[in-house]
């Protein structure tokens, strides 16, 4: 495709259309004022002489002035949100004062749906929207954040606290198991990978399509919902300039308490004794670092480092400003937006910069043609490696543990060595918290450029042809540095010369997508009589999308020891190139036909049907085409004559039902043939630098579309003149022929993509908006939504269940269970049974040096290790007296029972106040941090959190520095302790580490003040508002970790809700202004 010449041609067309002229005519002058029913002047009302091009816009006082208006002509007053009025120009010179009525029902509002738009009252599917007002009122970094808690059926989780944290979006649960459940994102008609790069100030509105009758028009990609973002276009009228700016300051929201210095030393002593299982005081593994027990008092006054404060304690700041200019005539409208964000995060070496630029032009060269053109450019830079990463080499490189468990005071031989050269005691295996950050440094730079153009031609009345071309380029550089303390350098760098030297991996991803869509639509208005209650329109179209991807990975080892990340990135020749892999993915091509018919009878009985046929290059001939039909009916009950009696309070009541199918081809391309790949990493044999092998994923020529059937029942209501409105929805989605990456180990390949299994999602959603008060100087409204979703795996093909590992520790395997009858996100582990008391033992055997368990007491030693009083006790589910791998069961579920949000907006004179809350109820969190911070596993010398403080944890330590093996004394010593002993051979995932993740968060609280208009009009300013917003001010939760909204193990879909080494969340205050002139 020659996209460049295409763009040039269009640019020329646009230039010509800029030269169009305004026409003038002769007549009299008309002036007047436009006000609302309260007498307040309305600014920016379009005042137009009907049938001509003469028009004006009301000024700050609502006044307008038209010149040369022929007598007897009609003037049209239109204003968004108000009912359009007409007035005839009389003979005199009396000012024409008009009062516009609010269009309270907003039912005439147009909602964007796939390949078109529809009036809100005519919607038959399940569609939710958020408009610009809601987005701009609260300053957030991205469009996704703005949606959080605002839409029923859309669950948005901020996975951690870093400035570039991934936001997980699920529309009605998601049907896939191993594959992504991300919705399809469409920005101005163009499918994109994510919408986090779009500043909220650019957005006109966001629509979420939830049921198949709405998403089926997107066919193959609509199964997990569709999020449609429409960016701002120019408005007809005077040039409008908006400037928004804010600064924010933020601090770490919460800290975990760790043992103080004397307690740390005391625990190290007991741990050393337990490790040696010795009666002798002063075991060498303690004394070599900490001296003798007799001198332990020295640690009472030692200075300690608050590592969390050192790593996350800085005050983060954000500066964000945006400028948008828009305006235009009826011939040409434009909108230009620029925004810049600079974020210094709370964590050392972590920051974030983003720039966005966009330009949109809408031209009407002739009466029946339209040209639209838009450019969007975004650039994003993220510095710092965060606390963990999804494509990690090993979870042992996760950083948070260093900030929690590192020695609280300098210990010669433990903490000092590790600062100088990446060596540490192997049993300690921690690194200086700042070193671990700098050794895992990372720079990410992403640039996206999106060009869209469309040409619309109304060939004859009501018959419209539209062609759209789009080109999107995505360019991502991910530069990852591995310092000496990283597992990568210690283990994966195998050449002797490069061992124990810094290494880098540079990954560049380039992705280009081209799209062409052609649609024909026709409104059958002409076929029916002028006042006929029948309305029928239809649309047919065709679309072609091709996506090309290339990934270039350069791995360089053996940099000079003194090099840090920036040195390595800028002086790559100083290392040794280890691997260069330039990988071109097979193109991903989608070719589609689609069509839609909408019919209504008097806006009372509504019907719509869509059909889409998608051909995908991911499937082999014969399976390529997927067909996705859907239909919806709606009945506006309130329009029936028998509802006459309710008209005074019931404005609208609509019942809708839809049924339809949507598809999914969310698998990597190139699965239908087995090809040979050259591999130059993970080489286990001598003498070669690369080898050829077939992919470890077996090809499958029989792959076909995954299909989701949705059934949706909805009720929309509007009461009391629009003061109360909302909707209720029930849905039942079933997904079959799931595309699953199926384990085939043992055949010669690890996995194969297959179509098998079935899942279901059922749920209920409710939304309500209530305008409680709407007076000139006082307004108050509330909104709330709630969503319930329940999913179930109905079938997994030939399997009944399989386990998945979150992988935070290599010693915990299979901690999630995917099973028929269950759902994705079931945590699988042991049941905690407290601890072994002295009475559980027969006694201490001095010959063997072991405590002997009573025969009737369950033996947890296969999991916990050698038992003694105080050891953690697990439940024996199988009843054979021994706890082993068989005694695991489902102990938690990451899926909430319901989620939602509610908010309040209030205005009093020139002040406005808004509060937004969001919640999640009934989900569990797998607190892996807690396990790591309270058990020894095989490590030594690590600190712990205060759950295991002296007095809480079981102690085995006699005051004279010996291990207590006297039953009575041991029992007495632990009379007041509640926790087990942290000493155990392995990390154990038990239900103790599964916590209720329910929370209610005051996500934002904003107080704003707008300067009086009367004052502003003197300096030609339309609006100037100052505000202050607090983020994350309160979070009511019983969760003991940093934040209950967390999900850090996202490499597979199968392990949600794990809190391990998450970047902690911050609390922030924003001070900003909105300026409009």
């Amino acid at each position: 495709m020659n996209q460049k010449s295409q763009i040039k041609r269009w640019a020329a067309t646009l230039l010509m259309s800029l030269c169009c002229l305004m026409a003038f005519a002769q007549g009299k002058n008309v002036t007047g004022q436009v006000t609302d029913p309260n007498g307040e002047p309305l600014i920016g009302v379009s005042v137009q002489v009907k049938g001509t091009k003469t028009g004006a816009i009301t000024d700050f006082d609502g006044n307008f002035r038209l010149t040369n208006v022929p007598e007897g002509s009609t003037i049209v007053f239109s204003y968004i949100g108000y009912v359009t009025e007409e007035a005839r120009v009389g003979g005199g010179n009396k000012p024409l004062n008009i009062t516009l009525r609010e269009d309270a029902q907003s039912l005439e509002e147009v909602v964007v749906i796939g390949y078109g738009s529809v009036k809100k009252k005519d919607i038959t599917g399940s569609v939710a929207t958020v408009d610009a007002d809601a987005l701009v009122a609260v300053p957030v970094a991205s469009a996704v954040e703005a949606l959080q808690g605002k839409l029923a059926g859309v669950q948005i989780t901020t996975t951690e606290g870093s400035p570039d944290a991934e936001m997980k979006i699920r529309v009605r649960g998601g049907g896939s198991i191993t594959q992504s459940n991300d919705p399809l994102y469409i920005v101005d008609g163009f499918p994109v990978d994510n919408i986090s790069d779009i500043p909220t100030t650019d957005i006109e509105d966001i629509t979420v399509l939830k049921d198949a009758s709405s998403t089926a028009i997107y066919g193959s990609r609509g199964a997990n919902g569709v999020i449609i973002v429409t960016t701002k276009s120019g408005q007809e009228g005077k040039i409008n300039v908006n400037y928004n700016a804010y600064i924010s300051v933020k601090k770490l929201a919460d800290k975990l308490d760790v043992l103080n210095a004397p307690d740390y030393a005391k625990w190290q002593y007991e741990l050393a004794l337990l490790g040696a299982n010795s009666q002798e005081p002063n075991p060498s593994s303690f004394t070599k670092f900490f001296g003798n027990w007799q001198d332990i008092d020295l640690y009472n006054n030692v200075d300690t480092n608050d590592w969390q404060d050192i790593v996350f304690g800085r005050t983060g700041t954000t500066f964000n400003h945006s400028l948008s200019i828009n305006g235009g005539s009826d011939k040409m409208k434009f909108s230009f937006n620029y925004s810049h964000m600079d974020d210094k995060a709370i964590m050392q070496m972590s920051d974030f910069v983003r720039d966005n630029l966009s330009l949109k032009l809408n031209v009407k060269p002739t009466k029946n043609t339209k040209l639209d053109f838009s450019v969007r450019y975004a650039k994003r830079k993220v510095s710092g490696g965060g606390m963990n990463e999804q494509n990690e080499v090993s979870s042992s490189d996760s950083r948070l543990k260093n900030a929690i468990l590192y020695t609280p005071f300098p210990v010669a031989g433990l903490s000092d060595e590790s600062m100088s050269g990446g060596d540490t005691d192997p049993d300690f295996n921690l690194y200086h918290p700042l070193e671990s950050i700098s050794d895992n440094d990372r720079r990410q730079r992403r640039e996206t450029l999106n060009l869209n153009g469309s040409f619309t031609w109304e060939i004859f009345k009501n018959f419209q042809f539209k062609t759209e071309f789009g080109w999107d380029t995505y360019d991502n550089d991910d530069n990852r540095f591995y310092g000496l303390s990283t597992y990568y350098v210690k283990d994966k760098v195998t050449d002797t010369a490069d061992k124990q030297h810094p290494a880098i991996i540079l990954t560049g991803t380039e992705r280009n997508t081209f799209r062409n869509t052609n649609t024909l639509s026709y409104d059958f208005e002409k076929l029916f009589a002028k006042d006929s209650p029948h309305h029928l329109n239809m649309m047919v179209g065709q679309e072609y999308i091709i996506r090309k991807e290339r990934e270039m990975t350069n791995t360089i080892h053996g940099f000079p020891l003194s090099y840090d990340a920036d040195d390595c990135f800028s002086l790559t020749t100083q290392g040794h190139a280890y691997a260069v892999e330039d990988y071109y993915s097979p193109n991903d091509i989608l070719f589609s036909w689609f069509g839609r018919v909408n019919y209504d009878y008097d806006s009372k009985y509504l019907f719509s049907a869509t059909f889409r046929a998608d051909g995908s290059s991911k499937f082999a001939e014969g399976n390529r085409w997927g067909y996705f039909p859907s239909a919806a009916v709606a009945w506006r009950v309130s329009a029936e004559p028998f509802m006459e009696g309710t008209r005074n309070w019931l404005d609208d009541l609509k019942l809708r039902f839809s049924y339809g199918t949507a598809g999914n081809n969310n698998i990597p391309s190139g699965q239908i043939v087995q090809s040979w790949q050259s591999v130059s990493t993970n080489i286990y044999v001598n003498g070669i630098t690369s080898y050829w092998a077939p992919s470890k994923t077996m090809y499958n020529p029989d792959l076909k579309w995954e299909t989701t059937i949705t059934r949706n029942l909805g009720l929309d209501y509007t009461l009391f003149g629009g003061r109360l409105n909302g909707s209720l929805e029930y849905y039942w989605n079933s997904t079959k022929d799931l595309l699953i990456e199926f384990p085939t180990a043992g055949t010669g390949y690890d996995t194969q993509y297959r179509n098998l299994g079935k899942t279901e999602n059922r749920g209920f959603e409710a939304t309500v908006n209530w305008v409680a008060v709407n007076k000139p100087n006082f307004g108050l409204n509330f909104n709330a939504n709630i969503s319930f979703n329940q999913s179930e795996i109905k079938s997994l093909g030939i399997m009944n269940d399989f386990t998945a590992a979150s992988g935070w520790s290599s010693r915990i395997t299979g901690d999630f269970l995917v099973a028929v009858g269950g759902e994705v996100g079931q945590m699988y582990g042991y049941r905690n049974d407290g601890r072994y008391e002295v009475s559980d033992f027969k006694g201490y055997n001095t010959t063997t040096g072991q405590w002997e368990l009573r025969d009737d007491v369950v033996d947890s030693s296969p999991i916990i290790g050698t038992l003694r009083p105080g050891s953690m006790k697990l439940k024996d589910l199988t009843g054979e007296g021994l706890v082993n791998a068989e005694d695991q069961e489902v102990i938690g579920n990451a899926n909430p029972v319901h989620t939602g949000g509610f908010g309040m907006n209030m205005r009093v004179y020139d002040f406005d106040l808004s509060a937004n809350f969001n919640w999640s109820y009934g989900n569990d969190i797998y607190n892996a941090n807690k396990i790591e911070y309270t058990s020894t596993d095989v490590t030594k010398y690590r600190n712990m959190t205060t759950e295991m403080a002296d007095g809480k944890r079981w102690t085995n330590l006699n005051p004279d520095g010996t291990l207590c093996n006297d039953p009575a004394q041991l029992e007495a010593m632990n009379a007041n302790t509640t926790m087990w002993s942290p000493y155990m051979q392995n990390y154990v995932f038990s239900d103790w580490a599964v916590e209720d993740g329910s929370f209610l968060r005051l996500s934002t609280l904003t107080l704003g003040y707008s300067l009086p208009k009367s004052l502003l009009s003197k300096v030609k300013i339309q609006n100037l508002r100052f505000y202050v917003t607090g983020y994350n001010l309160f979070c009511w939760t019983s969760y003991s970790g940093y934040d209950p909204e967390v999900s850090t193990r996202r490499k597979t879909n199968l392990t949600p809700g794990v809190d391990y080494s998450a970047y902690p969340k911050s609390r922030s205050f924003v001070f900003g202004l909105n300026l409009n002139f």
Binding site: V685, N686, G687, W692, M698, Y749, D750, M799
Partner: protein, 604 residues
Amino acid sequence: MRIKQYIYASLFLASGALTSCDDILDAPTISSTDESFVFSKYDLAEDAVMGILNSFGEQNSYRGRFLVYYGMNTDMEWWGATDKYDKKSELCNYSPTTTNGEMNTSNNAWAKFFEGIERANLVIRGLETYGDMNDPNFRQLLGEAITLRAVYYCDLLKAWGDVPSRFEPITSETMYLPRTDKDSIYVRLVLDDLKRAEDLVAWPNETTVTSTTERVSRAFVKGLRSRLALYAGGYSQRADGTIRTSNDPRLAPEEMYKIVKEECVSVINQHCNELGEFEETFRRLCNDNVEAGHESIWEIPFSEGRGRVLYNFAVPHDTKDAHTQQNQGGDLGPTPIAFYKYDPQDKRRNVTCVPYKWNEGIQVPGEISSWYFGKYRYEWMENRIVTSDNDDGVNWLYMRLGDIYLMAAEAVNELDGPQAAEQYLKPILDRALPAEKVTAYLAEATASKEAFREAIFEQRGLELCGEMLRKADLIRWNRLSSTLEDTKAEMMQLLNREGKYADLPDEIYYQTVTDTPKLESTVWDSEIFPNETVEIYGLELGQTDAEGASLGYVSHDKWAAKDDWEDKIIGLYVNNPDDYQYWPIWQVFIDNSNGVLVNYANYQ
């Protein structure tokens, strides 16, 4: 007018329709290629052969899993852990469960061996279809692929018995295959595949490719064919649980011995490999010296930073020191009685059985129950020092000339009698024992076919201890259970100081060698590390506590503390080993098999 506009619009749509044929949806792969390209170019085809080898090294494959556990426990070797019920021990003491924590992972050796087989099958098909079979270089590659496939099968058949038979690349129809009687796989490997491969590959040092022990040579193909023939012709547990030889006349013992004789004798007579000194072979191994022509015939070529040979097998270093920055080793070792099976003058004894480990840079004696394989020593690395935490990169010595001699001796004895076989046993003894002891030994051994068989039984144990071949030998001789029973009894004798151990001292006495060791002491280093090497008195039969105490050494009274190791002896085998000659197919593979794989009755 309107008609015209309809036509315009239709044209626009038609432009889409024209491209709507299915071709538009073809998306060929770009950064990968197809067989015809790979296998018509020598360099690419060679890299595809390397892809077969790579499966040995994958995590949880040969490296770190199969290598460590298969071969335990025998009269010569045992697993060093103390807890007889733990997941590692149960792999060795004949009581594994299908959900064993070490093995029941989808990337286990079982899966990776079949991955290697699939890669070999693809390479063989590719080379046969697109390779130039008149070119000796291509012929070498084909021979290597066929041989590597046989290596994978050899270990699969040993460890699991009947396994799915895959000699063609997988298709949708052959995705799931049930177990095949292992006899049919042996027939294919011994009578067909390896016979064919022999003629395809070169002798060691005949070509550049075969100048290293990391590539397959004709000597290796012949040796492997012999090893497989001995397994095929020997006893083993069958699917119904009985133990017998094959009913297939093609695998009759005599037929198999003929092959062994022919192949091994031809390797010996080719003189392309030399026995050399016993210790030298293992020093070479630890030094990554892969020059062909010495004793080593083929090694699994673990790359420098991959492979866990020393990591698991070596004399352990508890702490990092000047010899290694990896404090590992000693997960398994010789049985405590192995040391006493050797003649005290047998040069193989102190190379093979080591009673000390390294701590803080010096050798210190451990416990009687934990001997270590001295064939694998970090301290023998001269050119590099291991720094990785996980891997040492030393190759696995898969086949050496000593094994070929012993196989030849065994086969010739069976076919032609002990006098004819003597010449193949003698070189092994010559390099181990003083001449007069060799003569005496051979005189006894050649008395009868039966006596020679016993000599082979003994010498294979002494020669190959720690090379993980013993268990399979005991099985094919149908002596697994009886030998382990005897071993348990003999260890109890050692524990209780009975029988030949009645006069062993109660304690051992040791010191670090500063200059030269005393004559009374035993030392395990042929080249002393001053201030590191340990000398020990009290391990040899006939030594006394009285003399020990008089030497002025440190006494080590914990060496043979009874309480500590009686449980280990009892745990040598938990079930009758003959009932558990094979491991179960791990549960994950049973679950993934679409119901076609079933474990033998004792694992159900």
